[in-house]
């Protein structure tokens, strides 16, 4: 009990201890804020990628595609699969009707209803969010062939009615769509990978009218993707031959199916399917097909952010080392001032171990109090971080973190991850204990007769 009492009194009555508490609090504050924002960004990015890809993707990077239909039927029969969606992915030259200038964009051929069941596509739409089946029906003329543009593609194509992104990251949609068309040209390939229209102009071209905008929240997707009706995209890419092909099948699992287990089952089904089709025509197309979870499928986009998070964590470990050093210095100073107390305590029977524990207890309280102050401060700051940023922008036209007209970020993420918070607090306390360990050991080893000598007072 005396250890708790003395440790708290040393903490409260020694001004220098306040500096240690302040250092820990500051460190925890910074780490809580930055890690929350960064973790929020990574989590948001993952969520958006998950929404974009579904749970699992069976697909190929090859522009030729693969024979998908039979395997999709197998998947649809499986009880762990909730939905499947075949997708055509390719590149196209896209030109608005009013100019001959073309833009290289990605196209994605989908069946909107199926795709919305397998992924979060439907929720990214603006005009047809409540009735995805009409995603490719322009509201101004439903009989025209529609296309859904990534929300930032409109401006790249020069559309005057494309949604504007304001400084707070929100889009303002026009009540009507630009009633103009874009022509989409693709180079169709045969199942063998040869040019399907060699000597015939090489390309397939179709015109599509704007029917909706898709806001996936993924910068690259929103700025370079045009969604087309599945059959149209299949035709444009030459995958509509007697044996129809697709680039990928996006799969959604039933809610109770774990991602890894679901993907493993799909992979197993795929292996069986490949064996079964080994001696059939176009079996070689199946060789390049991979089964990936959404994390694997979107790894290239997620990995950079995760790497950044890892780097930030490593940098904060360095901040932690600074805290360890501060606590070391403060503990050393306090223990130097308290050598008389150590002698007194030992003269009344306190053991070396208990002297060690007393000063470690002091450091523990420094860590605990510092963490508590830093956490509360960080939490309050995070609660108001968007308001603060908004105020800075309104007053000084200054947006410290991200220019929303450039970055695909809406609000600064400020939801505290309690697991991360727990790790930060425990790390801060551990850093304090680590910093104090050496001085505490020295304190424990002090001889009472030396510390109580008149010359030492």
């Amino acid at each position: 009990m005396y250890k708790i009492i003395l440790a708290t009194r040393y903490l409260l009555k020694r001004r220098i201890a306040y500096f240690a508490v302040l250092a820990v609090a500051l460190c925890v504050f910074i780490v809580v804020v930055v890690m929350t924002v960064l973790t929020g960004l990574v989590s948001d990015l993952k969520q958006k990628n998950h929404r974009f890809a579904g749970d699992c993707v069976v697909g190929t990077e090859s522009q030729v595609g693969f024979v998908y239909y039979d395997f999709m039927k197998i998947l649809d029969r499986e009880e762990f699969v909730e939905a499947t969606s075949p997708v055509i992915k390719s590149y196209a030259l896209v030109s608005p009707s009013w100019t001959e200038q073309s833009l290289g964009l990605e196209i994605m051929g989908i069946e909107p209803v199926r795709h919305s069941k397998a992924t979060g596509f439907g929720k990214t739409l603006y005009h047809h969010r409540d009735d995805v089946s009409k995603a490719f029906e322009p509201v101004y003329e439903p009989n025209l062939m529609g296309c859904v543009l990534g929300i930032d593609v409109g401006h790249r194509l020069g559309s005057t009615l494309a949604p504007e992104r304001n400084s707070k990251g929100r889009y303002s949609y026009s009540s009507r769509l630009d009633e103009t068309s874009v022509s989409v040209s693709c180079v169709p390939l045969t199942a063998k990978g040869a040019l399907a229209k060699a000597g015939l102009g090489l390309v397939n071209t179709r015109s599509f009218y704007y029917s909706d905008y898709s806001h996936s929240g993924l910068a690259r997707v929103d700025s370079s993707m045009i969604y087309l009706p599945f059959e149209e995209a299949q035709m444009l890419c030459g995958m509509d031959g007697p044996i129809k092909r697709a680039s990928a099948i996006h799969i959604k699992f039933k809610p109770d199916v774990k991602l890894e287990a679901g993907c493993e089952r799909v992979a197993s089904l795929w292996r069986s399917f490949r064996q079964e089709k080994a001696d059939q025509m176009y079996a070689d197309l199946l060789e390049k097909v991979t089964v990936q979870s959404w994390k694997g499928y979107r790894r290239a986009f997620i990995a950079a952010m995760e790497k950044e998070q890892t780097m930030m964590t490593a940098m904060f470990a360095l901040v932690g080392i600074t805290t360890v050093f501060i606590v070391f210095v403060v503990s050393y100073m306090i223990i130097s001032h308290k050598s008389k107390d150590i002698g007194i305590l030992k003269s009344i029977g306190v053991s070396n171990t208990n002297v060690l524990l007393l000063f470690l207890g002091f450091s523990f309280f420094v860590g605990l109090l510092g963490s508590a102050i830093g956490t509360v401060g960080g939490w309050r700051f995070l609660v108001h971080i968007n308001e603060i940023e908004g105020w800075l922008y309104d007053k000084f036209d200054y947006q410290p973190l991200w220019d929303r007209t450039i970055f695909a970020i809406d609000e600064i993420p400020n939801t505290i991850d309690y697991k991360v918070l727990g790790v930060i607090i425990l790390s801060a306390i551990a850093a304090c204990l680590a910093g104090a360990l050496l001085p505490c050991r020295q304190a424990a080893k002090q001889k009472p007769v030396e510390t109580l000598q008149v010359s030492q007072l």
Partner: protein, 233 residues
């Protein structure tokens, strides 16, 4: 006097300290014993090794050679835990400079040895008793009204009485006082010595170290330490 009559006994104690490159021999074969209920004063000039001997008797320091025994048992055979308990319960120290903990108030300083001897639960179980005992001691020492004061709010004499209260808290067999009046004026020092006399009359064994012959005269027996040895016992 037979060997078994001594509650605390030191035989052939040697102790030296290093001062730079040279070793200074402080105690050169000291033989000393205290009987139960005795009030012994150890006198000697400054640097004669009085305090060193007291520290060795109270197990705050170890001799280079020789035996210190309490109730016939050699202290060198005590485990570290037993030595801690010995310092906590068997002996009580009173130092020249009081050595109170500034962060604790008077009452807390007095009951500190009891708190040290208990774990958290043990302390909660006996805390009422300990506080009453500490208040009782403070009352006996004339500090009943000072229980909630901090050491810096007390005079030198009052601080020394608090130190005596702390030393007596666990009812030690032997009270070891190192120049208890050395930092006090004569009137205040006299008051402290009166306290010692009263305690001794009540049966408390006391070993007091002093360089002042007049102070030592208040003890029942005086031994002189000179050139690292006891002159007369």
């Amino acid at each position: 006097m037979s060997k078994n009559d001594f509650i605390l006994k030191a035989e052939s104690i040697y102790k030296s300290y290093r001062m730079g490159a040279t070793a200074v021999e402080v105690l050169k074969g000291v033989d000393f014993g205290v009987e139960k209920g005795e009030f012994v004063a150890i006198v000697g000039t400054s640097g004669s090794g009085k305090s060193t001997l007291l520290h060795i008797l109270g197990a705050l320091d170890r001799p280079d050679k020789g035996v210190v025994a309490f109730a016939g048992r050699d202290l060198s055979r005590y485990s570290s835990g037993e030595l801690n308990r010995f310092r906590n319960k068997t002996v009580g120290f009173v130092f020249q400079f009081y050595h109170l903990l500034d962060e604790l108030n008077v009452l807390e300083n007095v009951f500190l040895p009891t708190m040290v001897s208990k774990g958290i639960f043990g302390w909660f179980a006996c805390r009422g008793w300990a506080k009453n005992r500490a208040r009782e001691l403070l009352g006996q020492l004339g500090l009943g009204e000072r229980a909630n004061h901090k050491p810096y709010q007390l005079s030198g004499g009052e601080r020394q009485r608090v130190a005596i209260g702390r030393a007596l808290m666990n009812e030690p067999s032997v009270l070891l006082a190192d120049e208890p009046t050395g930092n006090l004026d004569s009137a205040t020092g006299n008051g402290i010595l009166k306290v010692f006399e009263e305690l001794n009359r009540a049966g408390q064994t006391i070993v007091m170290v002093s360089h002042d012959e007049r102070v030592a005269q208040r003890a029942g027996r005086i031994v002189t330490l000179a050139d690292g040895k006891i002159r007369r016992a």
